[in-house]
Amino acid sequence: MTTQVSQPGAVSRREFLKLGWGLLAGVAALEGGLAAVQFSLPRVAAGEFGGVFTCGPVEAFPPGSVTPFNEGRFYLLRLDDGGFLALYRRCTHLGCAVPWDPTTNQFVCPCHASAFDQTGQVLNPPAPRPLDRFAVAIQDGQVRVDTSRPLEREQFDPSQLVYA
């Protein structure tokens, strides 16, 4: 004789199936959500902004120079001591393009008047942090800037400079 003995705390067949369907539905929803997110993730074309820029030979950038690269959305700076720094020109306040003002040696944002010094540090708010930078590498005497990822920082620090 087979009788169904339901032990206390045991899961009935009905409950088990409910749980199973629930889990499956959950997994399906998760997969759908993940697919939607993956689908809408940033897409970057090679060779445009977002790729690696070859700026030129080291000698082309004398110490104390600021060279804009509009295509790459950055400034290549060579400080007086010869160190290279690439600054993303996007204002850290709300994203306007920050022009370099050679008369005052500052970056001054036209939108809400944030000002940054030559190393990108904030001289005047509302910008909450220094200009982001891009990684600089020097290979075979050529300066290369990788614009794939802006690097945020709390302040300027000499370790951010790259020397030939």
Partner: protein, 463 residues
């Protein structure tokens, strides 16, 4: 079955009858059946309480919102045939629309102005629902659906703003997405997904195109259907009454066709005519082609975000752009579930005292806002006063706490000194915050010039 001796009906008559289902004779029963049998008309009940027809109660604002949405769908579909969503062609296609397409400029103007008008009309509709207390049960959930529709309206405008790819579009969206990036933890990711990269580019345009032309309209259509359905299920419109009138339990009904449909048609015709006339004489703005190398000065977001952009000048971005608007939205959503002692549904501003307090709070809100902006601009420098604190605290949490305490204090003062009931005190706080927000928006639009300096409107216009 009786064989008729007269000639059989002509084909067109049969077609007509098959379409309308029942002949219309004009008597009461026929008028009721007409509303029930017509897909569009049956959004309405067949008959409505005569009081709810009072124009100065609803101002027809919900219906006007729906009308504008339909107009936007029609003009939007026309624009689709001309517009190309690629950075090197978008601006050209708008120029071609303006100069080479018959009525192109007019259609673009209509779409532009209807979109802007929708923001205003939906906001006014929200205000009328709030001030008549119509958000209370059983209409609480419809209030939430309405809030979602308001958000969708703003997002629809925001995504459409980028499409012309002129300077206005490029930098308005840059600043708008910059605000989004301040959301804690996920902000950067959100703005990257929305823009399809770290900055506005071809991917952004395609994203916004997809959102603006399909995701948002479909969501709106769905929520609007739900909204209308709920209006009927919640017992129709809340019934208006005078300040000293007792709640109306039983009211005389009139037939929807045509006691409701006629004023609707008149109101729709009047506003459509006004909109067409306006669009004939005032062109939608179009600035030079977007230039990623050159930010204009000042760079402003779209006008409906300028209240928030003004907050950004006074608060740390996280507080000004995310926390304060977020709290305001949360308060609006919680309103029907939290507000107590309210038996004043249908009475504008709750009561006689409510009217008086609303006027008082509007004046107070305007004065306090202008006062605060001036003092903060010229005298108050919290980060300098509290140098040991990070700016998130000194320029964010500290003034936010002061603001919230001030609002609680205002609520208490209304209760104590003006003997306001709880719902009258809530109304007063709402009006205070509302006039504050309107004040900030007006300052942002008319009084901020280059570098976001405070100027007179005629000086701002000169730039």
């Amino acid at each position: 079955m009786s064989e008729s001796t007269s000639a059989p009906d002509p084909f067109w008559k049969k077609l007509w009858r098959s379409a309308v289902r029942e002949p219309y004779t004009g008597d009461r029963r026929s008028r009721l059946r007409l509303v029930m049998n017509n897909l569009i008309l049956h959004l309405h009940p067949a008959q409505v309480p005569v009081r709810t027809l009072r124009f100065t109660y609803s101002w027809g604002l919900g219906g006007l919102s729906a009308l504008l949405v339909v107009l936007l769908a029609v003009t939007g579909a026309m624009l689709m045939f001309v517009y190309t969503p690629a950075p090197d062609q978008a601006y050209q296609s708008i120029l071609a629309l303006n100069t080479q397409v018959w009525y192109g400029q007019l259609v673009r103007n209509l779409h532009h102005w209807a979109g802007n008008a929708l923001v205003v009309v939906v906001a006014l509709h929200l205000l009328r629902v709030f001030f008549t207390g119509a958000f209370r049960e059983p209409r609480a959930f419809n209030w939430l659906i309405g809030l979602a529709l308001l958000l969708l309206t703003v997002v629809a405008n925001f995504t459409g703003y980028l499409l012309p790819w002129d300077q206005l579009a490029y930098w308005g969206i840059t600043v708008g997405a910059g605000i989004l990036a301040y959301v804690p933890v996920v902000g950067n990711w959100l703005s990257q997904v929305l823009l399809g990269g770290p900055e506005i580019g071809p991917a952004t345009l395609l994203n916004f195109y997809g959102l603006h032309l399909s995701v948002i309209p479909i969501a709106m259509l769905f929520l609007m259907s739900l909204h209308f359905w709920r209006v009927r299920k919640d017992g129709g419109l809340s019934v208006p009454r005078g300040v000293d009138e007792a709640p109306v339990l039983k009211d005389e009904n009139v037939t929807t066709f045509s006691d409701l449909v006629r004023p609707e048609a008149v109101w729709a015709t009047v506003t459509l005519t006004a909109l067409v006339l306006w669009s004939m004489f005032v062109n939608a703005p179009l600035e030079p082609l977007a230039n990623p190398d050159l930010s204009p000065n000042p760079a402003k977001a779209a006008w409906y975000f300028l209240g928030i952009q003004e907050l950004l000048l006074h608060f740390h971005p996280l507080i000004g752009a995310i926390v304060i608007p977020g709290l305001a939205l949360a308060a609006l959503a919680a309103l029907p579930y939290l507000s107590g002692d309210m038996d004043s549904v249908g009475v504008y501003f709750r009561s006689r005292r409510g009217r008086w307090l609303a006027a008082f709070s509007a004046a107070a809100g305007a004065l306090l806002t202008v006062g605060y902006v001036l003092v903060d601009e010229f005298y108050l420098d919290l980060p300098a006063l509290l140098p040991s604190l990070p700016t998130l605290l000194s320029n964010g949490v500290v003034p936010l706490a002061a603001l919230l305490l001030g609002l609680i204090g205002y609520h208490g003062a209304m209760r104590r000194f003006f003997r306001a009931t709880r719902c009258e005190a809530t109304l007063s706080v709402f009006v205070l915050v509302l006039t504050g927000f309107i004040g900030l928006t007006l300052i942002g639009i008319f009084f901020r010039g280059p570098g976001m300096a405070l100027l007179w409107p005629w000086e701002v216009a000169g730039h």
